[in-house]
Symmetry: D3
Subunit: 78 residues, 6 copies
Protein backbone atom coordinates (compact mmCIF):
# COMPACT_ATOMS: atom_id res chain seq x y z
CA UNK A 1 0.00 0.00 0.00
CA UNK A 2 2.81 2.45 -0.59
CA UNK A 3 2.31 6.02 -1.73
CA UNK A 4 5.03 7.56 -3.90
CA UNK A 5 4.89 11.31 -4.45
CA UNK A 6 7.11 12.70 -7.21
CA UNK A 7 7.58 16.48 -7.24
CA UNK A 8 9.21 17.96 -10.34
CA UNK A 9 9.39 21.34 -12.00
CA UNK A 10 6.73 21.96 -14.63
CA UNK A 11 8.85 22.07 -17.79
CA UNK A 12 10.18 19.96 -20.61
CA UNK A 13 13.07 17.71 -19.69
CA UNK A 14 14.03 15.85 -22.80
CA UNK A 15 14.78 17.05 -26.33
CA UNK A 16 11.71 18.20 -28.23
CA UNK A 17 9.44 18.55 -25.19
CA UNK A 18 8.21 21.63 -23.33
CA UNK A 19 6.41 19.80 -20.52
CA UNK A 20 6.48 16.48 -18.72
CA UNK A 21 4.84 14.34 -21.40
CA UNK A 22 2.11 11.75 -20.96
CA UNK A 23 4.61 9.05 -21.92
CA UNK A 24 7.10 10.25 -19.31
CA UNK A 25 4.38 10.22 -16.66
CA UNK A 26 3.53 6.66 -17.62
CA UNK A 27 7.17 5.67 -17.21
CA UNK A 28 7.48 7.39 -13.84
CA UNK A 29 4.37 5.62 -12.54
CA UNK A 30 5.41 2.25 -13.94
CA UNK A 31 8.97 2.60 -12.67
CA UNK A 32 8.06 3.74 -9.17
CA UNK A 33 5.54 0.91 -8.77
CA UNK A 34 8.06 -1.62 -10.05
CA UNK A 35 10.69 -0.29 -7.62
CA UNK A 36 8.42 -0.90 -4.63
CA UNK A 37 7.68 -4.41 -5.90
CA UNK A 38 11.34 -5.22 -6.51
CA UNK A 39 12.72 -3.85 -3.25
CA UNK A 40 9.89 -4.33 -0.73
CA UNK A 41 7.75 -6.94 -2.43
CA UNK A 42 4.76 -4.57 -2.52
CA UNK A 43 2.05 -5.65 -4.99
CA UNK A 44 1.84 -3.16 -7.87
CA UNK A 45 -1.97 -3.19 -7.60
CA UNK A 46 -2.04 -1.25 -4.36
CA UNK A 47 0.77 1.24 -4.92
CA UNK A 48 -0.35 4.82 -5.55
CA UNK A 49 1.89 7.28 -7.37
CA UNK A 50 1.13 11.01 -7.38
CA UNK A 51 3.08 13.35 -9.68
CA UNK A 52 3.11 17.00 -8.65
CA UNK A 53 4.32 19.50 -11.24
CA UNK A 54 5.55 22.71 -9.64
CA UNK A 55 5.85 26.00 -11.54
CA UNK A 56 9.45 27.15 -11.90
CA UNK A 57 8.70 30.32 -9.93
CA UNK A 58 7.38 28.24 -7.05
CA UNK A 59 10.51 26.12 -6.67
CA UNK A 60 13.53 27.48 -4.87
CA UNK A 61 17.10 26.28 -4.55
CA UNK A 62 20.18 28.14 -3.38
CA UNK A 63 17.91 30.86 -1.99
CA UNK A 64 16.68 31.69 -5.50
CA UNK A 65 13.81 30.67 -7.76
CA UNK A 66 14.85 28.03 -10.29
CA UNK A 67 15.01 30.48 -13.24
CA UNK A 68 17.27 32.87 -11.28
CA UNK A 69 19.36 29.98 -9.97
CA UNK A 70 19.98 28.72 -13.50
CA UNK A 71 20.83 32.17 -14.82
CA UNK A 72 23.30 32.72 -12.03
CA UNK A 73 24.84 29.29 -12.49
CA UNK A 74 25.22 29.83 -16.21
CA UNK A 75 26.78 33.25 -15.67
CA UNK A 76 29.37 31.72 -13.32
CA UNK A 77 30.24 28.95 -15.74
CA UNK A 78 30.65 31.18 -18.75
Amino acid sequence: MPIVTIQVTREGNTPGTNAVTAEEKRQLIKGASQLLLDVLNKPVDTTFVVIQEVDLDNWGVGGLTVPEYRRQKQAKES
Copy 2:
Protein backbone atom coordinates in the same frame (compact mmCIF):
# COMPACT_ATOMS: atom_id res chain seq x y z
CA MET B 1 -4.87 22.41 15.28
CA PRO B 2 -5.12 19.44 12.93
CA ILE B 3 -4.35 19.62 9.23
CA VAL B 4 -6.33 17.33 6.94
CA THR B 5 -5.11 16.98 3.36
CA ILE B 6 -7.50 15.34 0.90
CA GLN B 7 -6.01 14.28 -2.43
CA VAL B 8 -8.46 13.26 -5.15
CA THR B 9 -8.43 12.95 -8.90
CA ARG B 10 -9.57 16.06 -10.77
CA GLU B 11 -12.85 14.82 -12.29
CA GLY B 12 -16.57 14.63 -11.71
CA ASN B 13 -17.64 12.02 -9.21
CA THR B 14 -21.39 12.20 -8.99
CA PRO B 15 -24.09 12.19 -11.72
CA GLY B 16 -24.24 15.42 -13.71
CA THR B 17 -20.83 16.73 -12.65
CA ASN B 18 -17.52 16.91 -14.53
CA ALA B 19 -15.40 18.22 -11.64
CA VAL B 20 -15.38 18.25 -7.86
CA THR B 21 -18.08 20.86 -7.26
CA ALA B 22 -18.01 23.78 -4.85
CA GLU B 23 -20.78 22.08 -2.86
CA GLU B 24 -18.81 18.83 -2.62
CA LYS B 25 -15.75 20.76 -1.43
CA ARG B 26 -17.89 22.41 1.24
CA GLN B 27 -19.08 19.01 2.41
CA LEU B 28 -15.56 17.56 2.48
CA ILE B 29 -14.30 20.48 4.56
CA LYS B 30 -17.27 20.41 6.91
CA GLY B 31 -17.15 16.64 7.31
CA ALA B 32 -13.41 16.42 7.91
CA SER B 33 -13.54 19.20 10.52
CA GLN B 34 -16.51 17.54 12.23
CA LEU B 35 -14.68 14.20 12.28
CA LEU B 36 -11.73 15.70 14.16
CA LEU B 37 -14.12 17.30 16.62
CA ASP B 38 -16.10 14.10 17.17
CA VAL B 39 -13.15 11.75 17.54
CA LEU B 40 -10.39 13.88 19.06
CA ASN B 41 -12.31 16.78 20.52
CA LYS B 42 -10.45 19.26 18.27
CA PRO B 43 -12.18 22.65 17.99
CA VAL B 44 -13.45 23.17 14.44
CA ASP B 45 -12.07 26.72 14.49
CA THR B 46 -8.46 25.64 14.30
CA THR B 47 -8.70 22.70 11.91
CA PHE B 48 -7.30 23.32 8.43
CA VAL B 49 -8.44 21.25 5.46
CA VAL B 50 -6.58 21.35 2.15
CA ILE B 51 -8.07 19.70 -0.94
CA GLN B 52 -5.61 18.79 -3.68
CA GLU B 53 -7.07 17.90 -7.06
CA VAL B 54 -4.67 15.79 -9.11
CA ASP B 55 -4.92 15.43 -12.90
CA LEU B 56 -5.81 11.89 -13.97
CA ASP B 57 -2.52 11.58 -15.86
CA ASN B 58 -0.60 12.46 -12.70
CA TRP B 59 -2.16 9.73 -10.56
CA GLY B 60 -0.97 6.17 -10.84
CA VAL B 61 -2.30 2.89 -9.52
CA GLY B 62 -1.41 -0.66 -10.53
CA GLY B 63 1.63 0.71 -12.33
CA LEU B 64 -0.59 2.64 -14.76
CA THR B 65 -2.08 6.12 -15.00
CA VAL B 66 -5.69 6.21 -13.84
CA PRO B 67 -7.15 6.39 -17.38
CA GLU B 68 -5.14 3.35 -18.50
CA TYR B 69 -5.94 1.49 -15.30
CA ARG B 70 -9.67 2.01 -15.82
CA ARG B 71 -9.51 0.98 -19.46
CA GLN B 72 -7.65 -2.18 -18.56
CA LYS B 73 -10.02 -2.98 -15.70
CA GLN B 74 -13.06 -2.46 -17.92
CA ALA B 75 -11.57 -4.66 -20.62
CA LYS B 76 -11.06 -7.46 -18.10
CA GLU B 77 -14.57 -7.20 -16.77
CA SER B 78 -16.30 -7.19 -20.14
Copy 3:
Protein backbone atom coordinates in the same frame (compact mmCIF):
# COMPACT_ATOMS: atom_id res chain seq x y z
CA MET C 1 -8.46 6.34 -5.00
CA PRO C 2 -8.29 9.27 -2.59
CA ILE C 3 -5.51 9.77 -0.07
CA VAL C 4 -6.42 11.49 3.19
CA THR C 5 -3.57 12.65 5.41
CA ILE C 6 -4.47 13.63 8.97
CA GLN C 7 -1.80 15.52 10.92
CA VAL C 8 -2.39 15.93 14.65
CA THR C 9 -0.30 16.67 17.70
CA ARG C 10 1.01 13.59 19.51
CA GLU C 11 -0.95 13.79 22.76
CA GLY C 12 -4.09 12.63 24.50
CA ASN C 13 -7.25 14.39 23.39
CA THR C 14 -10.07 12.89 25.36
CA PRO C 15 -10.48 12.29 29.12
CA GLY C 16 -8.32 9.48 30.44
CA THR C 17 -5.97 9.30 27.46
CA ASN C 18 -2.38 10.47 27.02
CA ALA C 19 -2.04 9.67 23.34
CA VAL C 20 -4.19 9.22 20.28
CA THR C 21 -5.64 5.78 21.06
CA ALA C 22 -5.98 2.80 18.73
CA GLU C 23 -9.76 3.18 18.93
CA GLU C 24 -9.57 6.86 17.95
CA LYS C 25 -7.34 6.01 15.01
CA ARG C 26 -9.89 3.41 13.90
CA GLN C 27 -12.62 6.03 14.03
CA LEU C 28 -10.57 8.60 12.10
CA ILE C 29 -9.84 6.07 9.35
CA LYS C 30 -13.43 4.82 9.20
CA GLY C 31 -14.86 8.35 9.24
CA ALA C 32 -12.53 9.78 6.60
CA SER C 33 -13.18 6.85 4.25
CA GLN C 34 -16.93 7.16 4.78
CA LEU C 35 -16.76 10.91 4.07
CA LEU C 36 -15.15 10.32 0.68
CA LEU C 37 -17.79 7.71 -0.11
CA ASP C 38 -20.67 9.95 0.97
CA VAL C 39 -19.52 13.11 -0.77
CA LEU C 40 -17.62 11.91 -3.83
CA ASN C 41 -18.87 8.38 -4.22
CA LYS C 42 -15.35 6.98 -3.79
CA PRO C 43 -15.31 3.24 -2.95
CA VAL C 44 -14.00 2.73 0.58
CA ASP C 45 -11.80 -0.11 -0.66
CA THR C 46 -9.40 2.16 -2.48
CA THR C 47 -9.20 5.11 -0.07
CA PHE C 48 -5.94 5.40 1.84
CA VAL C 49 -5.77 7.27 5.15
CA VAL C 50 -2.44 8.20 6.74
CA ILE C 51 -2.32 9.59 10.29
CA GLN C 52 0.80 11.60 11.18
CA GLU C 53 1.34 12.32 14.86
CA VAL C 54 3.58 15.35 15.36
CA ASP C 55 5.46 16.05 18.60
CA LEU C 56 4.21 19.15 20.39
CA ASP C 57 7.62 20.79 20.06
CA ASN C 58 7.51 20.29 16.29
CA TRP C 59 4.17 22.04 15.80
CA GLY C 60 3.97 25.79 15.74
CA VAL C 61 1.10 28.23 15.82
CA GLY C 62 1.10 31.95 16.53
CA GLY C 63 4.88 31.95 16.06
CA LEU C 64 5.32 29.66 19.08
CA THR C 65 5.56 25.94 19.74
CA VAL C 66 2.25 24.48 20.88
CA PRO C 67 3.29 24.19 24.57
CA GLU C 68 4.37 27.86 24.65
CA TYR C 69 1.27 28.93 22.75
CA ARG C 70 -0.98 27.22 25.27
CA ARG C 71 0.89 28.65 28.24
CA GLN C 72 0.64 32.15 26.79
CA LYS C 73 -3.04 31.73 25.95
CA GLN C 74 -3.80 30.46 29.46
CA ALA C 75 -1.89 33.34 31.01
CA LYS C 76 -3.94 35.84 29.01
CA GLU C 77 -7.21 34.22 29.96
CA SER C 78 -6.53 34.04 33.67
Copy 4:
Protein backbone atom coordinates in the same frame (compact mmCIF):
# COMPACT_ATOMS: atom_id res chain seq x y z
CA MET D 1 19.43 19.40 2.61
CA PRO D 2 16.22 20.73 4.10
CA ILE D 3 12.93 20.90 2.21
CA VAL D 4 10.60 23.76 3.11
CA THR D 5 7.04 23.57 1.77
CA ILE D 6 4.96 26.74 1.98
CA GLN D 7 1.22 26.35 1.40
CA VAL D 8 -0.77 29.54 0.94
CA THR D 9 -4.10 30.53 -0.55
CA ARG D 10 -3.95 31.58 -4.21
CA GLU D 11 -4.78 35.29 -3.91
CA GLY D 12 -3.27 38.72 -3.56
CA ASN D 13 -1.98 39.54 -0.11
CA THR D 14 -0.58 43.03 -0.27
CA PRO D 15 -2.05 46.28 -1.62
CA GLY D 16 -2.26 46.39 -5.39
CA THR D 17 -1.84 42.66 -5.98
CA ASN D 18 -4.33 39.97 -6.92
CA ALA D 19 -1.97 37.00 -6.69
CA VAL D 20 1.23 36.00 -4.93
CA THR D 21 3.70 37.99 -7.02
CA ALA D 22 7.00 36.83 -8.47
CA GLU D 23 8.78 39.23 -6.11
CA GLU D 24 6.95 37.82 -3.07
CA LYS D 25 7.88 34.29 -4.12
CA ARG D 26 11.51 35.36 -4.40
CA GLN D 27 11.36 36.77 -0.87
CA LEU D 28 9.71 33.65 0.55
CA ILE D 29 12.38 31.43 -1.03
CA LYS D 30 15.22 33.68 0.06
CA GLY D 31 13.86 34.08 3.59
CA ALA D 32 13.16 30.40 4.17
CA SER D 33 16.61 29.40 2.94
CA GLN D 34 18.23 32.06 5.12
CA LEU D 35 16.24 30.86 8.14
CA LEU D 36 17.59 27.32 7.80
CA LEU D 37 21.10 28.71 7.47
CA ASP D 38 20.76 30.99 10.49
CA VAL D 39 19.13 28.48 12.82
CA LEU D 40 20.51 25.11 11.72
CA ASN D 41 23.60 26.09 9.79
CA LYS D 42 22.24 24.47 6.62
CA PRO D 43 24.03 25.63 3.45
CA VAL D 44 21.65 27.65 1.29
CA ASP D 45 22.85 25.73 -1.79
CA THR D 46 21.11 22.53 -0.83
CA THR D 47 17.87 23.85 0.65
CA PHE D 48 14.79 23.30 -1.51
CA VAL D 49 11.71 25.49 -1.11
CA VAL D 50 8.38 24.55 -2.70
CA ILE D 51 5.50 27.04 -2.74
CA GLN D 52 2.03 25.54 -3.17
CA GLU D 53 -0.77 27.94 -4.00
CA VAL D 54 -4.17 26.53 -3.03
CA ASP D 55 -7.45 27.79 -4.52
CA LEU D 56 -9.64 29.51 -1.92
CA ASP D 57 -12.38 26.91 -2.44
CA ASN D 58 -9.92 24.13 -1.67
CA TRP D 59 -8.83 25.52 1.69
CA GLY D 60 -11.00 25.05 4.75
CA VAL D 61 -10.93 26.52 8.22
CA GLY D 62 -13.60 26.54 10.88
CA GLY D 63 -15.46 23.86 8.92
CA LEU D 64 -15.97 26.28 6.01
CA THR D 65 -14.19 27.17 2.79
CA VAL D 66 -12.08 30.31 3.16
CA PRO D 67 -14.55 32.57 1.28
CA GLU D 68 -17.44 31.43 3.51
CA TYR D 69 -15.29 31.69 6.62
CA ARG D 70 -14.38 35.29 5.82
CA ARG D 71 -17.95 36.26 5.01
CA GLN D 72 -19.14 34.78 8.30
CA LYS D 73 -16.34 36.44 10.26
CA GLN D 74 -17.06 39.80 8.66
CA ALA D 75 -20.78 39.46 9.39
CA LYS D 76 -20.03 38.79 13.07
CA GLU D 77 -17.70 41.75 13.34
CA SER D 78 -20.04 44.24 11.71
Copy 5:
Protein backbone atom coordinates in the same frame (compact mmCIF):
# COMPACT_ATOMS: atom_id res chain seq x y z
CA MET E 1 15.78 19.02 -8.50
CA PRO E 2 13.02 16.46 -7.95
CA ILE E 3 11.78 15.38 -4.55
CA VAL E 4 10.52 11.81 -4.24
CA THR E 5 8.61 10.91 -1.08
CA ILE E 6 8.04 7.21 -0.41
CA GLN E 7 5.49 6.35 2.27
CA VAL E 8 5.38 2.74 3.41
CA THR E 9 4.13 0.84 6.43
CA ARG E 10 6.72 0.34 9.17
CA GLU E 11 7.22 -3.42 8.99
CA GLY E 12 9.33 -6.13 7.44
CA ASN E 13 8.56 -6.86 3.82
CA THR E 14 10.91 -9.59 2.73
CA PRO E 15 11.73 -12.99 4.29
CA GLY E 16 13.80 -12.72 7.46
CA THR E 17 13.14 -9.04 8.10
CA ASN E 18 10.91 -7.27 10.63
CA ALA E 19 11.49 -3.72 9.39
CA VAL E 20 12.49 -1.90 6.25
CA THR E 21 16.21 -2.67 6.29
CA ALA E 22 19.08 -0.25 5.66
CA GLU E 23 19.88 -2.18 2.46
CA GLU E 24 16.28 -1.84 1.22
CA LYS E 25 16.34 1.89 1.94
CA ARG E 26 19.54 2.18 -0.07
CA GLN E 27 17.88 0.41 -2.99
CA LEU E 28 14.77 2.61 -2.82
CA ILE E 29 16.88 5.77 -2.84
CA LYS E 30 19.13 4.54 -5.63
CA GLY E 31 16.22 3.28 -7.72
CA ALA E 32 14.08 6.39 -7.35
CA SER E 33 17.00 8.66 -8.26
CA GLN E 34 17.85 6.49 -11.26
CA LEU E 35 14.21 6.57 -12.41
CA LEU E 36 14.19 10.37 -12.50
CA LEU E 37 17.45 10.34 -14.43
CA ASP E 38 16.24 7.75 -16.94
CA VAL E 39 12.81 9.25 -17.59
CA LEU E 40 13.30 13.00 -17.12
CA ASN E 41 17.04 13.38 -17.46
CA LYS E 42 17.32 14.77 -13.93
CA PRO E 43 20.87 14.67 -12.53
CA VAL E 44 21.07 12.21 -9.63
CA ASP E 45 23.07 14.78 -7.63
CA THR E 46 20.13 17.05 -7.03
CA THR E 47 17.34 14.53 -6.49
CA PHE E 48 16.13 14.21 -2.91
CA VAL E 49 14.38 11.07 -1.68
CA VAL E 50 12.53 10.99 1.64
CA ILE E 51 11.28 7.67 3.05
CA GLN E 52 8.45 7.91 5.58
CA GLU E 53 7.68 4.80 7.59
CA VAL E 54 4.14 4.84 8.93
CA ASP E 55 3.00 2.70 11.87
CA LEU E 56 0.48 0.03 10.86
CA ASP E 57 -2.15 1.56 13.18
CA ASN E 58 -1.73 4.92 11.43
CA TRP E 59 -2.39 3.59 7.94
CA GLY E 60 -5.91 2.94 6.78
CA VAL E 61 -7.37 1.18 3.76
CA GLY E 62 -10.89 -0.05 3.14
CA GLY E 63 -12.05 2.02 6.12
CA LEU E 64 -9.92 -0.07 8.49
CA THR E 65 -6.43 0.08 9.95
CA VAL E 66 -3.98 -2.14 8.07
CA PRO E 67 -3.93 -4.88 10.76
CA GLU E 68 -7.74 -5.09 10.78
CA TYR E 69 -7.88 -4.95 6.98
CA ARG E 70 -5.50 -7.89 6.69
CA ARG E 71 -7.33 -9.95 9.30
CA GLN E 72 -10.61 -9.37 7.51
CA LYS E 73 -9.12 -10.17 4.12
CA GLN E 74 -7.57 -13.36 5.43
CA ALA E 75 -10.86 -14.39 7.06
CA LYS E 76 -12.67 -13.96 3.75
CA GLU E 77 -10.11 -15.94 1.82
CA SER E 78 -10.05 -18.89 4.19
Copy 6:
Protein backbone atom coordinates in the same frame (compact mmCIF):
# COMPACT_ATOMS: atom_id res chain seq x y z
CA MET F 1 -3.71 30.64 7.14
CA PRO F 2 -0.44 29.38 5.68
CA ILE F 3 1.08 26.02 6.49
CA VAL F 4 4.86 25.77 6.48
CA THR F 5 6.38 22.29 6.58
CA ILE F 6 10.10 22.07 7.37
CA GLN F 7 11.77 18.73 6.69
CA VAL F 8 15.28 18.27 8.07
CA THR F 9 17.54 15.39 8.91
CA ARG F 10 17.33 14.18 12.52
CA GLU F 11 20.75 15.20 13.82
CA GLY F 12 22.66 17.94 15.58
CA ASN F 13 23.47 20.92 13.41
CA THR F 14 25.32 23.36 15.56
CA PRO F 15 28.36 22.90 17.86
CA GLY F 16 27.57 20.99 21.04
CA THR F 17 24.27 19.52 19.86
CA ASN F 18 23.33 16.02 18.71
CA ALA F 19 19.75 16.77 17.69
CA VAL F 20 17.62 19.69 16.60
CA THR F 21 17.22 21.42 19.95
CA ALA F 22 14.03 22.84 21.47
CA GLU F 23 15.51 26.32 21.11
CA GLU F 24 16.27 25.77 17.42
CA LYS F 25 12.71 24.55 16.86
CA ARG F 26 11.40 27.68 18.55
CA GLN F 27 13.52 29.82 16.22
CA LEU F 28 12.39 27.94 13.11
CA ILE F 29 8.72 28.36 14.07
CA LYS F 30 9.14 32.00 14.99
CA GLY F 31 11.14 32.79 11.87
CA ALA F 32 8.84 31.00 9.43
CA SER F 33 5.76 32.71 10.89
CA GLN F 34 7.49 36.09 10.75
CA LEU F 35 8.48 35.49 7.12
CA LEU F 36 4.86 34.93 6.08
CA LEU F 37 3.86 38.06 7.95
CA ASP F 38 6.63 40.17 6.40
CA VAL F 39 6.22 38.99 2.82
CA LEU F 40 2.52 38.17 2.50
CA ASN F 41 1.01 40.05 5.39
CA LYS F 42 -0.31 36.82 6.94
CA PRO F 43 -1.27 37.17 10.61
CA VAL F 44 1.10 35.11 12.78
CA ASP F 45 -1.88 33.80 14.76
CA THR F 46 -3.13 31.58 11.97
CA THR F 47 0.12 30.30 10.50
CA PHE F 48 0.90 26.67 11.25
CA VAL F 49 4.46 25.35 11.15
CA VAL F 50 5.20 21.62 11.16
CA ILE F 51 8.78 20.37 11.61
CA GLN F 52 9.48 16.86 10.35
CA GLU F 53 12.73 15.27 11.45
CA VAL F 54 13.81 12.51 9.08
CA ASP F 55 16.28 9.77 10.05
CA LEU F 56 19.54 9.99 8.13
CA ASP F 57 18.95 6.55 6.61
CA ASN F 58 15.58 7.71 5.29
CA TRP F 59 16.94 10.70 3.41
CA GLY F 60 18.60 10.29 0.06
CA VAL F 61 20.62 12.61 -2.13
CA GLY F 62 22.85 11.79 -5.08
CA GLY F 63 21.31 8.32 -5.18
CA LEU F 64 22.73 7.51 -1.73
CA THR F 65 21.57 7.74 1.87
CA VAL F 66 22.90 10.84 3.60
CA PRO F 67 25.58 8.97 5.62
CA GLU F 68 26.93 7.30 2.44
CA TYR F 69 26.72 10.55 0.51
CA ARG F 70 28.80 12.36 3.12
CA ARG F 71 31.37 9.59 3.32
CA GLN F 72 31.76 9.61 -0.44
CA LYS F 73 31.97 13.39 -0.58
CA GLN F 74 34.61 13.44 2.18
CA ALA F 75 36.61 10.75 0.42
CA LYS F 76 36.65 12.78 -2.78
CA GLU F 77 37.71 15.94 -1.02
CA SER F 78 40.56 14.36 0.91
